[in-house]
């Protein structure tokens, strides 16, 4: 039945039409962002939006690079994103492993309930977080953001990695132990290679959230610790919104997570082709 439907030209047409529509819905905002970044202010402010045909300019990029503190924000974002991701994967991995390998009543409940924490939107935490940070006079310290992003991401990372660890049969570890491996060797030479795709997936999610997060970053950073999204918001001024620059900055912000995702996705695929863990 399914095969006949696919062979029917009308169905094929409908199929592709739906796919193209979905792709357009997804790509349109990205196109608007990228295009606006290359428009000068006059074009941006036109009543009738110009979608495709305009003379592109690099003015916005030049402004961001030379006159803002782009390099500072970028550095802050890179530090916060990578350190938070590393910490989340490290701590989350340990926790997930312990959960996956220790039998106790309500184990799955514990693993799943970590997701509850994930349901709390960062905005809800903003006020208490702000109060705490002021209390400890940490309002100009990158460690604060790293701490909060790690805390926010841990539940999801634990839940995700728990699932991956559970798939790895205990016998593999036992075989390694009998083969003479120390606990660290078991982890680094047997488990970690098999967990690559799990860590890659968790890493993509964690890094993306740490990189993009806005509200906490806005509240908890000072002049020298601002991250890129907060920096972009700086173009909303009392004299108006500089859309071209915001969009140019947005375009630049998107690039590192994209690169990171491509890199991590390669690990996911190689993890999948390494074959079913059950062998």
């Amino acid at each position: 039945m399914a095969a006949r439907q696919i062979n029917n030209p009308l169905h094929v047409l409908g199929h592709y039409a739906a796919l193209i529509l979905l792709a357009l819905i997804t790509l349109a905002p990205i196109w608007i962002m990228v295009a606006t970044g290359f428009k000068d202010d006059v074009i941006v402010q036109q009543k009738e939006p110009i979608w495709f045909f305009f003379v592109p300019t690099l003015d916005n990029y030049e402004h961001i690079m030379t006159r803002g503190k782009f390099d500072r924000y970028l550095w802050n974002s890179v530090i916060v994103g990578t350190v938070a991701t590393f910490l989340t994967l490290f701590l989350g991995g340990l926790c997930a492993y312990a959960l996956a390998r220790t039998e106790f009543r309500g184990r799955v409940l514990v693993a799943n309930s970590t997701l509850l924490v994930r349901m709390v939107p960062p905005a809800v935490l903003a006020v208490p977080a702000f109060a705490m940070v002021l209390n400890f006079s940490l309002d100009n310290d990158l460690a604060v953001l790293i701490f909060f992003y790690t805390a926010l991401n841990l539940p999801f990372a634990i839940w995700l990695l728990f699932g991956f660890y559970k798939q790895i049969p205990v016998e593999l570890e036992e075989a390694a132990i009998v083969d003479g491996a120390t606990p660290l060797q078991v982890f680094f030479r047997v488990l970690l290679p098999l967990m690559k795709s799990g860590y890659a997936v968790a890493g993509i999610f964690t890094f993306r959230i740490a990189w993009n997060e806005f509200i906490l970053a806005l509240l908890l950073t000072g002049r020298t610790t601002r991250t890129l999204p907060v920096g972009a918001a700086g173009f909303i001024t009392d004299t108006g919104v500089e859309w071209g620059r915001i969009m140019a900055m947005g375009t630049l912000i998107v690039i590192p997570p994209l690169l990171f995702t491509f890199f991590a996705a390669r690990q996911i695929i190689s993890g999948m082709t390494a074959g079913a863990v059950k062998g």
């Binding site: 049969p169 075989a175 003479g180 491996a181 060797q185 030479r189 062998g279």
Partner: protein, 366 residues
């Protein structure tokens, strides 16, 4: 004392006692098969020998050394797991050499030993393949290769053939037996399959609920089972049990639908046995068909009436599902490949092969 010894070994999970005090001794170079139904404690016993499961009390000795609390790598053992537990991210050579590489063996030595093991197991052309690109039988061999390269004192096998199909299983049984002869190492093999136990073992340990029911050579446990459990577990198809009564002269045993003279070896034991009520054990393969034409039968063959329900043709013999006096029994009768399906009638039973068991204790009367 060399070999492997378990001295008063017990195992508790919380308050649950899975292994009551267990005493076993395996000689150096011996192939011992621990067999029993699932949950009998055989795998736990093997894992305690391997050091993967701590004992609650008692002592384990391997090659004369007390290894009760030693880590697995200090026990000079190699183990083959039921799921093979091959490392999916390493190729065959990587899997086989992992232990040697961890031990810091020189590259040349690693290559030499892997090559030797691969040749022995006919894996040479697969050395660069990943486990997922191998068939079940090949994976099984890699798992064995991983153990062989270690050149360990003792090899432990945890149901290594149970994931293979029937044909491959019987081939691997033979290969394992040959391997044992070549390596001449102590091997402890756990299985629930009594055929594996019978075909490969120098000695069989039959366990039930943590207790050792009998230890002996395949011939001993088949010919002289110590109790009902061993008698029913060893032998395929399994032994038939029928309620019966010892006659006053104690030389005959009678039940519903049968009356068999006892073999001379049981005379004395039967006379010394107090109770009249017993269980008679008849192995299916000790039934025979009557000669066509009613020729004279040997004196040790007694007639038994079988009400045949189904006759299964398996080539040289037929398996009968039949009734004796209303109780279901099975019989394996050698009649040759051209025989017609067997029907109800009078068959013969080899009275030298009658077994008697105490009805209350289940122990063999012998």
């Amino acid at each position: 004392m060399s070999g492997v010894q378990l001295v008063d070994v017990t195992k508790f999970y919380g308050t649950v006692n899975v292994i009551p005090p267990l005493n076993l001794s395996f000689d150096e170079g011996e192939f011992v098969v621990i067999v029993g139904p699932s949950g009998c404690g055989k795998s736990t016993t093997l894992r305690m020998i391997a050091g993967l499961e701590p004992v609650t009390s008692g002592m384990i000795r391997i090659a004369g050394k007390d290894v009760t609390w030693a880590r697995p790598k200090e026990r000079d053992i190699a183990m083959v797991f039921q799921s093979y537990a091959l490392y999916p991210h390493m190729d065959v050579a990587g899997n086989m050499s992992f232990a040697l590489r961890l031990a810091g063996t020189s590259k040349e030595e690693v290559a030499r030993r892997v090559r030797a093991a691969a040749e022995m197991l006919e894996l040479t052309e697969y050395l660069e393949r990943k486990p997922k690109d191998l068939s079940g039988g090949q994976r099984q061999r890699v798992a064995m290769g991983r153990a062989i390269v270690r050149d360990a004192y003792c090899f432990l096998f945890d149901e290594p053939l149970s994931n293979l199909d029937a044909k491959l299983r019987s081939t691997m049984r033979t290969e394992l037996a040959i391997l044992h002869k070549r390596l001449d190492r102590t091997m402890v093999y756990v299985t629930h399959d009594q055929i594996e136990a019978m075909t490969m073992a120098d000695r069989i340990v039959i366990m039930e609920q943590g207790h050792v029911q009998q230890v002996g050579t395949p011939r001993e446990v088949y010919n002289n089972p110590r109790n009902l459990f061993v008698a029913g577990f060893i032998g395929s198809p399994s032994m038939n049990f029928l309620d019966a009564e010892l006659q006053d002269d104690e030389l005959r045993v009678t039940g519903q639908g049968f009356d068999l003279p006892l073999p001379p070896r049981l005379h004395e034991a039967a006379q010394g046995h107090g109770a009249r009520q017993v269980i008679v054990g008849l192995r299916p393969e000790h039934f025979a068909a009557r000669h066509a034409g009613g020729g004279t039968e040997a004196s040790f063959l007694a007639p038994v009436d079988l009400d045949v329900k189904v006759a299964e043709y398996i080539g040289s013999s037929q398996f009968l599902a039949a009734d004796i006096g209303g109780r279901q029994v099975s019989a394996a009768i050698e009649v040759g490949p051209d025989s017609a399906p067997l029907t109800s009638g009078t068959y013969l039973f080899d009275t030298n092969r009658v077994y008697l068991f105490d009805k209350t204790t289940g122990d063999a009367i012998a």
